[in-house]
Amino acid sequence: MASDKPTWKEYPTAATIHQPGSATGQNTGDWRSERPVRNPEKCDKCGICWIFCPDAALFMNEEGFYEVDLYHCKGCGICARECAKGAIKMVEEVE
């Protein structure tokens, strides 16, 4: 059965990658064993969680709160630890 992988001619020269940020396709959220859960009442939108996330897995929503990008969040828990208001808790992934 023919492989569905590209042939040698189909790769870009020298395997140079021409799509910037193509890593976003990788489902690193799959690595989690815990996920951050935000308590909106305690959150004061300071953004500490956002600036301390090694994976840029937090983003600001329309209301100005920071939401978790579950597709990429690896569940390291830095955000929960660093939140000055204790507004984030790490909760076990149950799937």
């Binding site: 890593a23 956002w50 994976d55 840029a56 569940g75 929960a80």
Partner: protein
Amino acid sequence: MAEKTKSVEFIPRLLPPFELFAEGHRGCQGCGEALALRQILKVAGPNTIICSATGCMEIISSPYPETAWRVPWIHVAFENAAAVAAGVEAGIKILQKKNRYREGKVNVIAIAGDGGTADIGLQALSGALERRHDFLYVCTDNEAYMNTGIQRSSATPYGASTTTSPTGKESIGQQTPKKNMPKIVAAHDVPYLATACPSYPLDLMNKTRRALDTEGPTYMHVLSPCPTGWRHGIDMAVEMGRLAVETGVFPLYEIVDGRLSLNIKMDERKPVIEYLKPQGRFRHLKPEDVEIIQRQVNEYYEQLIYRAECDANK
């Protein structure tokens, strides 16, 4: 009004929202180096070319066909980030002169780990600094060859256990003190160098800005806590960086045209045991070992305070 945060007050809305180091990279959970790069790139902006050495950040960010980079990026080999950056900088210079490359300043940033800087990359770095290329060299220091499995480097601190300097009956682990890279860089009389840590993002970002705006060779030494190699909790990288600074193990300072100034001057510091205790790589240390480390830290910190005072009065 937000109450004072643990480390520093800032308004994140003022920080650039774009992510030039994209999510989906394969860094470990809670990686301090990835965090540092993310912060640095927010300042560098899209008008940047990165020349990366082989190492953690290179491997996790460029597994074909995935790339975490949203800026032009080149990886060549392990020991030559500085030489490649020198070539990029010189190439752009001559091509702009001949109108064969777009106009305007491009940030040229070399990124290497402690291995690719203090060990195998030292020669290329020294050469590039001496030749005064206009580029920024960032050393993301996680204090060992983490990518290949936590082997020691010359940046591994005294007493740390790594796979090639393991603790055992006959050995405390790393038997020599951490090589002082900023001192070596300073000996090249560069116009700007700084130590930084992603636990202090605003400080790191301000230093990045200053380094990029300074003409000539500039250097940032960024302590990058590594949960995998330092063996602390995966949520602890920011806390470890903070403790490194607050105990004086990793002083934050800048040297501008040869004048040193401490960013946080602490006449009294937390005891080093608070920094060492949460890390598995130091678990084997006895109280007398910790004393040695405390002495070393004190000595060096006092030296810095004295030097900063002298330089301030020049």
